[in-house]
């Protein structure tokens, strides 16, 4: 491992985080809250500490894949540790592990909370929670790549690989820096449009901003106990639902729209499968909910909102879904696991991986029927290389392994199986709400400290897509040779 290079990147992360905290300082000052001081001081210390690490550039800027993985993973851990400090010191969240859980949940855009009374928090604290979604959604390292010239040298794509979602991370432009900047511009642009639409629907600036942040990162932290249910408006809820769906789309689609290559969009398999799943699930669940809600319109509205919320891994709620029928719950759990598209800000297993796996299954059955069959698995019209196919298969194994082990670990709490299992799924897929105790109206406050650490692991593993986090646990990765 190139320790010097990793610490250089961590330095930049600290600087960026310190500066971002000043946004909360401003919010605190506007609302006249004394707790702004924590953001000011911790932010300044963080920035100064980071600056000492970045003053001198590392002599060897070579970034191998393992360095990229390690620096990204450590960045996320440092980001969460430092990010938890204002919540902890201000006594907004008195327990450090709770504060850490909340911050990990924020940066990984999970949106699972340990808070029972969200509205009791100061505005600057709520702002910081929502802003962590925004920074974590597209990724802090991608942000660094966009603003810092020559970060990671010619191998900078290795940094991107750890943080971006999907089985095969690439760039559609020669220079990674311009590409990262473009991704962030689209990200901010879309969030801005949502912000304006929410303002037009009568939200105040603070609510519109935090909601836009949270939707953009597909996070799910709300500033109200009733989540999006607080806003009793079809318009507002529908705007949020549509944007949750949009942020679950591969950002490559928006690049194609911006460059006028509309025809290519029609051929994007993953996009249509993703949208198809949203539509099909919405219809299925609304039919299932007909007996539960008075009107078909209400059933469709409830169904569409929760489907987009879960599949994009946001986790906003407008109703308690615990009493929903079994079929709807099962479908929602499946959507939790499938998740959003590759190259989006959403979590989950990713639609493109599912498509590749299904085609691999088809290939296997073809081989049984025609033992000498030659079949090329393709994704978006391009051949899926053996390496990517293997990576996806192993990803599935690792994914299931982590779910099994952590479900067992969570079971020590003695809660019911639905709670244990769905809480594990909701954290590793970065969704937030599960069912039973952790349902859309529940929270994670009752779990033991140990369980919360396990959840933090799950959330980070899910956001970084398993491999990077698993890698830093392997000792031989740290050996020089």
């Amino acid at each position: 491992m190139n320790i010097r290079l990793i610490s250089y990147i961590l330095g930049w992360v600290l600087v960026i985080e310190g500066l971002c905290m000043q946004l909360s300082t401003i919010v605190g000052l506007i609302y006249g809250e004394s707790s702004f001081i924590y953001f000011l001081i911790i932010g300044i210390i963080s920035a100064i500490l980071g600056a000492t690490l970045v003053i001198k550039k590392p002599k060897n800027p070579t970034m191998h894949l393992k360095d990229g993985f390690a620096s990204t993973t450590l960045s996320w851990i440092v980001l969460s540790l430092v990010g938890a400090l204002p919540l902890y010191f201000s006594k907004s969240i008195p327990s450090f592990i709770d504060a850490f859980f909340e911050t990990v949940s924020g940066f990984t855009t999970t949106g699972a909370t340990i808070l029972t009374d969200i509205e009791a928090l100061d505005k600057c604290m709520l702002f910081w929670r929502s802003f962590s979604h925004f920074l974590g959604g597209m990724g802090v390292v991608v942000f660094l790549l966009a603003i810092i010239p020559k970060l990671g040298g010619n191998q900078s794509i290795n940094l991107m690989k750890a943080e971006s979602t999907g089985p095969a991370v690439g760039k559609s432009m020669p220079k990674l820096r311009t590409y990262a900047a473009l991704l962030y511009s689209i990200y901010i642009g879309l969030a801005l449009i949502e912000f304006i639409l929410l303002l037009l629907g009568g939200m105040n600036v603070f609510d519109a901003l935090t909601t836009a942040f949270s939707t953009a990162g597909t996070g799910g932290f709300s500033t109200y106990n009733a989540s999006m249910g607080h806003f009793d408006s079809y318009y507002l809820q529908t705007v949020v639902a549509v944007f949750m769906m949009l942020f679950g789309v591969n950002f490559y689609v928006y690049i194609l729209i911006l460059t006028g290559k509309i025809k290519q969009i029609l051929k994007l398999e993953e996009l249509w499968v993703y949208l198809g799943m949203v539509v099909a699930s919405t219809v299925a669940i609304s039919v299932n909910l007909l007996s539960y809600y008075d009107t078909f319109k209400e059933a469709i509205h409830q169904s569409f909102f929760y489907v987009t919320s879960i599949q994009s891994s946001t986790g906003y709620a407008i109703a308690d879904t615990n009493p929903w029928p079994e079929f709807s719950e099962a479908l929602i759990l499946i959507l939790t696991c499938v998740g959003a598209s590759a190259g989006s800000t959403g979590g989950g297993f990713k639609v493109s991986r599912i498509i590749i796996l299904l085609k691999e299954i088809k290939k296997e059955f073809l081989l049984i029927i025609h033992p000498r069959n030659i079949y090329t698995v393709k994704s978006e019209g391009k051949k899926v290389t053996h390496e990517v196919a293997r990576n996806v298969s192993v990803y599935l194994s690792l994914y299931i392994l982590i779910i099994i082990v952590t479900t067992i670990l969570i079971s020590f709490n003695g809660f019911d199986f639905t709670t244990n299992f769905t809480s594990v799924l909701a954290t590793i897929n970065n969704t937030g709400p599960g069912f039973s105790m952790v349902g859309s109206a529940g929270n994670y406050s009752e779990f033991s400290v140990f369980s919360k650490i396990v959840f933090c692991f799950n959330m980070l593993a899910g956001r970084l897509e398993l491999y990077p986090l698993a890698l830093i646990l392997i000792p031989s990765a740290w050996k020089k040779n």
Partner: protein
């Protein structure tokens, strides 16, 4: 015309052969002295040893006064480059063979910049023809005239066919107007039938009909025109690639068996919805397990004629109902195969050669602007020619019965302002018509040539 052919491979030789016989002056350029020697020993042509893409060699062949250069070397890039050099050196027209599917697709994009008159892709032409055969099983051959408004269709007359043992005049009457029986092949002999000619089972008859009516007509003749739903391709050649693509696009299920694993991988990458099997297409067990007994059609596209023949015979044996199409590359011994119980054979080189010949003949005759297209019938024993009448001449305005036509020649149809006329003795040819003539005479270039 003075014609330079660069490349003396099979297509090059075929074209040289044909054009020499039509009286053109041919110069063949190739780097292989041995191949050239063989060619100049058997043909009355000039040969130059050298690289056809160099100005020196081309000047040696008097490129600047030539009418046409045909580049048919093994590589596409070389062919295109040769044409560009030759064009700049002053040749009037150029034809290049381009076989790479990726290049073929993009050619219209650069054809003008390359100053190319014609680009031909033999494999693509073949697959087009095969696709047509498979979409209309029971149809032996098809050609279109009058810019696609009229088809000439060749079918084999079965025992049960409504045509069997009937006079042509009866059959024409039964099928109503709009059909003209214009050619019959029987036991290796060719006939241009008159009304009293009796059609027998086993005859291969060619008739002309409006394109729109073709499908309905085939149905009424008992030739099922609903497509073969499943096709098995033995051999994964370039033709197989194009054919599989065309067929699967038309909703037909296609299976390819090829022995070369690399080739199978290539095919599976570029073909969706086609089942690719890596195995020996001469292996009975494999063929049976892949359902050769149940498919609707089998096309053999392997490297050697021997493999194609043997597997076709086998296919016919285990699945007599299927349409079997056999690729035969070696022209010289094709007469040997004629008595084998096989449905259809095709020769890719001949198809490519014919295509170029069509162009050359049209170009040669473009001075009079009467001659439009030529389609050879029965392996070139006869031809269907299309003329466009642009001005008054010796045949216009006179009733057909009053014309003193050559032996073995028939005016098959007159196309007047998009309407197809089956000519009777009282009809006349007018300016503006296009006329299709069936003839056993070779080298007709002008409509007036039909007169004795």
């Amino acid at each position: 015309m003075d014609i330079i052919i660069v490349g003396s491979g099979r297509v090059g030789r075929t074209i040289a052969d044909h054009m020499n016989n039509e009286g053109h002056s041919i110069t063949v350029i190739d780097e292989d002295a041995h191949a050239l020697e063989k060619l100049s020993d058997t043909q009355n042509i000039m040969t130059i040893e050298g690289n056809g893409a160099t100005l020196g060699t081309l000047r040696e062949a008097n490129v600047s006064t030539c009418d046409l250069l045909i580049a048919v070397t093994a590589t596409d890039e070389l062919n295109l480059y040769t044409c560009l050099i030759a064009k700049n050196a002053g040749v009037k027209r150029t034809i290049a063979r381009v076989r790479n599917p990726l290049y073929t697709k993009d050619l219209p994009f650069v054809k003008d910049d390359l100053k190319l008159s014609l680009a031909i892709n033999p494999e693509l032409l073949c697959s087009r023809e095969l696709t047509r055969m498979l979409k209309f099983p029971g149809v032996e051959g098809m050609a279109s005239f009058a810019r696609g408004h009229i088809d000439m269709i060749k079918i084999k007359v079965e025992e049960k066919s409504p045509l069997t043992n009937k006079k042509v005049v009866q059959s024409s009457h039964m099928l109503k107007d709009g059909v003209r029986f214009c050619f019959v092949e029987r036991d290796g002999e060719c006939y241009i039938p008159n009304g009293d000619f009796v059609i027998e089972a086993g005859d291969l008859i060619s008739f002309i009909a409006p394109s729109k009516a073709a499908a309905k007509l085939l149905k009424s003749l008992g030739i099922v025109s609903n497509r073969g739903r499943s096709v098995l391709l033995l051999g994964g050649s370039k033709i197989a690639f194009y054919l599989a693509k065309d067929l699967s696009d038309a909703g037909i299920s296609v299976k390819i068996i090829d022995n070369n694993k690399e080739r199978c991988l290539e095919l599976s990458e570029s073909l969706d919805d086609v089942l690719i099997i890596n195995g020996d297409a001469m292996d009975q067990d494999l063929l049976l397990s892949e359902g050769i007994e149940h498919v609707d059609a089998i096309v053999t596209l392997m490297n050697t004629d021997e493999e194609n023949l043997v597997s076709s015979l086998y296919a016919k044996q285990v699945n007599p109902k299927a349409k079997v199409i056999t690729e035969i590359g070696n022209l010289k011994i094709s007469s040997v195969f004629e008595n084998l119980p096989l449905d259809t054979m095709f020769n890719p080189k001949r198809i490519a050669g014919e295509h170029i010949m069509k162009y050359v003949r049209a170009m040669h005759n473009s001075r009079d602007s009467e001659f439009e297209t030529v389609h050879p019938i029965a392996d070139g024993k006869a031809e269907a020619l299309e003329f466009r009448v642009r001005k008054d001449n010796l045949v216009t305005g006179i009733s057909l019965s009053g014309l003193d036509l050559k032996e073995g020649l028939q005016i098959a149809c007159i196309n007047r302002q998009g309407k197809m006329i089956i000519p009777k003795g009282s009809d006349t040819i007018e300016v503006g018509d296009s006329v299709i003539v069936i003839t056993k005479h070779k080298g007709l270039t002008d409509l007036e040539d039909i007169l004795r």
